[in-house]
Structure formats: C-alpha cells, structure tokens
Symmetry: C2
Subunit: 341 residues, 2 copies
DNA sequence: CTGAAAGCGCTAACAA
DNA sequence: TTGTTAGCGCTTTCAG
C-alpha cells in the first residue's frame, strides 16, 4: 500500500459517474437539486471508489467551519464527563467539536493556538490558568466560553456550578441530620474555593450556627485533606464539608486511622461526585455538579455568540445536587450535653 | 464584535508589508529564501494584524496533512496519560495530533469517521471494540496502530503491554517475600485478562508452586474484585494478584471489612498503576504499564508506515514495571511453623 | 532574494 | 435537473 495512491476526490467520482463535480457535491451533502436516479448512481460510485469528503477543502470553501474548539486537561477527572455532554449538545446544534488537550507537558496556550489555526468559530475552555488579559485578547477574535473558571469578565461567557449553593446543600443536609459543630476544609487557591467557603459560612449563619463556623485551610489534593484532618483532630467537630472529593478521601483516611468512625463519630461531605466518591469503600456523600446541563449551556452560549442571536447574560450558573451516600449520618448524642434547639 | 470582521489572511499581511503573498508565506513558515530585514518587517506586520495561518488551507495546498488521528475513550483512566505521551512523541516527529473521543453516546465508528474526513495520515486507536474486518478495511486506506487491543493481525500495527511479564513480576515479587499460596483474580473478557492469567499460572509453575495455582474469575470493576474476595475468604491465600487496580480496591475493601489485615494477613497486587493505586490510603502495590514508551512506540510505528521507511514487526510489546507499595509484605509465619521474623 | 501564476478539493452562484 | 465558472487561503513551481 504505497502512499502513491491518491485519495479519491469529487472529480474522480464525477468522472466515473459521468456527471459534473457540482452535481456530485450536491449529492454528497444531501442538498436538494438532483434527480433520484442520478443521486443513486453517484452514491453507488462514491461508495465503490471509497470516496471520503475532505472536510478541510469543504470548510475552506464554505467560509464557515462550524467547528467548536474545546480545551480540556487530561488530568482533570471532570473534563472527560464534560466532553460527553459537549459532543451531544454540539451535534444537536449542528456543530462539530475539535479537541485540544492540555497535558503536563503541553500548555494551555499551545492547546488554544492549535484550535485557532483550525479556524474554530468559538472556544470552550475548561478550567485553565490563562491570565485575564490573554483571555480577553483571544475573546476579541472569537467567542469564548469558560467553564469552571474564575473569569467574571465582560468579554467571555462563563458557565459554572453554583458553588455557594452546593455548600448550602451540604450544610443544610448536615444540620437536618442534627449536626451543629460543622467545619469546612477549603480548597486554597483553587477555582471555586472562595465561593464554597463563603457558601458554607453563609449557610452556617443562616442556621444560627455562626459561633460554630470553623474553616481549615486545605487544597485540592488528597494530602491537603489529610493535613486538614490532623488539625481537626485536636478538637473534632461532628461533621466536615470538604472542598472536593479527593481532599475528602485524604481526610477520611486520617480520621479512620485515628480511630474515629464515619459517620458514627464524624460525618463528611465531599464535592464533585467524582468516580472516586462512588467507590463502595469510600461511598462519600458529595455535592454533584450537573455536568450535562453545564455542557449544554456552554454550547448554547457559544452558538448564540457565533450566530449573533440573543446575547443573553454572560454568566450561567448551574445548580448542583447533593448525592447522599454513606459518610453522613446523625451525630452521636453529645456526652453530658443537653442543648436541644 | 460582529462576525463581519474577516480574518486577516496572508494577502492582508502582504499588502500591509508591501510584499507578495509568496514571500509572506516563506517568512511565516520559516522557510529559507527571505532577507533578514524583510523577514523582520513581515513578522512585525503579521503580529500587528493578529495574523493566524489557516491550517486547513495550508494542508489542503501542501497535499499532506501531517496529522495523526487519535481515538480515545473518555471513560478509560489510562487514555489520558497516553495522550500526554502521544503529544510529546508526535511533536518530536513533526506531526500534529487530532483527537476524537469515544463517549457513552458516541461510538468508535463515528469517532473514526471524523478523523478520516480530517485527512489524517494515520490512526492511533486506544482499546476499542471494532470488528477485525472493519479494522482491516480502515487499515487498507491508511496506516492504523492499535494500542491495548487484542488485534493480532497483519494489517494493523499493535502496541501493547507485556501482560504475561507483568504477572510474572507480581508473582516473583510475592514469592521473593516468602509467599507460596498465591491466588489470581482475573479480568473476565477484558483485553489482557487471558495473558495476565496465563502469566500468573506460568510463573507459579516456574516457582514450583503449581499445586497452589488458584484462579478466581473477576472482571474490571470494583464490584468484581469484591465478589472475588468473598469467594477467596472461604480459604484465604496469603497473597493475591488482581487483574487491575479498580478490581483490587474492591477486593481490598472486602478483605478489610472481614477483619483481615493487609499486608499482614494477605498481600495484594493490582495492575496498571492508576492514580487510584497511588492514593495514600490505598497505597496499592501494582504493575505499571510503561505508558511513555508505548506512546512513543505507537507514534514511531505510525510515522514509519506513513513514510514507508522500515516496516518492522507489526507487534510491539512493552515491558511493564512493578511498583512496590504498601499492600505487599512477608506472609505471617504459618501457625506451628517456627520461622521467627 | 522576490513576484506572478497555478492550483489543492470543494462549494456556491449562476446559466443552460 | 444539470453543468460552468469562480474562487476559499495557502504553497509551490518558475521566472525575474
């Protein structure tokens, strides 16, 4: 199989079928304007010759690419689920996706550069660390939708989870179970951390538990949760809400190693509903982001900008949903204490 | 920002810089044949106008795309690591990657179809369920490299882990620790399961432990490992090698719930060295696949086929490497025996 | 060193 | 219903 074999083109099919290339083009893309018999014959020839349309030539000519560029990070557990939803939504809207990955050795800038060269009509960015000014200069050239990113700018659409609401749900659940001394392990500098922390504090105040507010600094990793647990152990609360699932598993581990039972002695709530939280022996109660809605929202925003239709609000906030599993339960009746609200 | 703003093209840059498009083309791709001064000026203008080359037009004209299509599955934990290595290797070989994802609602055929339209020069397929005949018909049109797939065919290059060797490493490690009664939980119908099982059996025989061979049927999921553990508990061996990490965690969980200590009472070895196995509270000894070597190998095979260079062997088998962590240790001296540690 | 001209494979007007 | 004619933005001879 030498590469000498030129690929079959429209012209080849046209010649073989004895018609013009224009007609074959019409038939190939199912456009109206071709006789049933001819159509049939052309299709047959195309199949026989193994004709494959050349998307580049096609897009080049038709001016538009109907391509949506997506930048995702191979390391992020979330991004893959998001891709699933994005493909669905894009397909429905009549757009195609082209993917560009960020890896430990391939930066966001490179990933975006590739997409720009592919003449995408809009960009969907997951997470990412780009400076606001860079984002702005890209957004000046084509619509950009940022998902799960802090960018609260006027030149970029933002689709993200309602982090504050998620924390509310977690706290409400714990309070409903009877907890009062509820701590929070935050996510440090990570996107969403500030919102989740604030949400926790607000919910605590709303329940009249301001005096029990206790924030321990953490991070996004397992070790961050473990470290936070050590600090919590000095005076354990009856429940903890944690920035994310991974950190929560680190915390769980340390808690158990120190002989605390979960949820007997202490309840734990994670965030994100990752596969990890669903593992039987972790079985973590967690706040799940509505990934499909977020994906659909992102595509809808992108398409709206491309087609210049509505230009609705720049920000789309999607409500999360609490997934109650095995790490939360009623607190043990406090020894000796009898404060009943 | 209306879409009326046409993108800047080579011609725009040429006009602005007062030179011909051909010259700009030369400068833009760093080809020889332009004066230093002109080059400088053209580059400056291009930057000022925000010129971005159009990869489609470029590739269309130059005949070749230098594009490698990659089909991966968003659900597979492995595939993302593989992508990292693939980007590196492809870049070094002067090729670009275009990604096409398989999702729960987007099949492999669709994913491949997109890539074919993009005029990739070769395909790299991760896993996948395509029938051999389909694979063959695709391979008839362009070089195909299959990774981690059973395809042992003459029309497709195959790059995969040496599963048998991995099992050998696991068993050797355990025997070295003093284990004799070593069981194996297999992966059912999954790719690699048969090889890993056979490798286990062979290694056991090699160590003169044929009488202790014990295979329990399992699968790739956590619940498969859990189920296997239940069966193993009837008469626990001192060590188990498991098809993959996920299954191993399910097994670990059940073992511990039944009061067995790991590695005190029983040692466990997983397979794949996924992120899961590295979590502090799982800390699973496991057989790691050499992902970077596999990725580099896949690209090297693909490029060789494209450029018609060597046409070496169709199959590339990469040795794995045992990652010793906390779930393996010396067996407890058998009751009645008198070996004191 | 630079420019003019000829397409790559396809689509979109228009004409027949 | 079908064919003709222009290009899309770029690279690539080939002259100057």
């Amino acid at each position: 199989m030498q590469s000498a074999e030129r690929r079959t083109t429209l012209a080849d099919v046209a010649a073989e079928a004895g018609v013009s290339v224009a007609l074959v083009s019409i038939v190939m893309r199912g456009a109206p304007g071709a006789g049933a018999a001819t159509r049939e014959r052309v299709l047959e020839v195309a199949r026989r010759l193994g004709y494959q349309p050349d998307s580049r030539a096609r897009l080049l000519r038709s001016g538009r690419s109907r391509l949506l560029g997506v930048v995702f990070d191979v390391r992020h557990p979330f991004h893959h689920d998001l891709l699933t939803g994005l493909y669905d939504a894009a397909g429905k809207a009549g757009y195609q996706l082209t993917l560009s990955a960020v890896t430990p050795r391939r930066g966001e800038r490179t990933a975006i550069g590739d997409l720009l060269q592919d003449r995408c009509e809009a960009l969907v960015l997951f997470g990412g660390q780009l400076r606001a000014s860079e984002l702005a200069s890209i957004a000046a050239r084509l619509p950009v939708v940022a998902m799960m990113r802090a960018a609260r700018r006027r030149d970029v659409d933002v689709v993200h989870n309602d982090d504050a609401l998620g924390s509310h749900q977690a706290v409400d659940h714990l309070v409903g179970l009877g907890h009062r001394r509820i701590a929070h392990v935050d996510g440090g500098q990570w996107h969403g951390s500030a919102e989740r922390r604030a949400g926790y504090q607000e919910a605590m105040r709303r329940h009249g538990l301001a005096e029990h507010i206790r924030v321990v600094s953490g991070g996004a990793g397992e070790e961050d949760g473990a470290r936070a647990a050590e600090r919590l152990l000095v005076d354990p609360p009856t429940a903890v809400t944690v920035f994310n699932d991974l950190s929560a598993t680190g915390l769980l581990d340390v808690l158990r190693r120190h002989g605390l039972s979960v949820p007997g002695d202490i309840s734990v709530v994670g965030y994100d509903d990752t596969g990890l939280s669903r593992l039987a022996h972790i079985d973590l109660t967690t706040v799940g982001q509505d990934i499909d809605t977020m994906a659909a929202g992102a595509i809808e925003r992108a398409v709206a900008r491309i087609e210049g239709t509505p230009a609705g609000p720049r920000e789309m906030v999607v409500p999360p949903r609490l997934m109650v599993r095995g790490t939360t339960g009623a607190p043990r009746p406090a020894a000796g204490a009898s404060r009943q609200p």
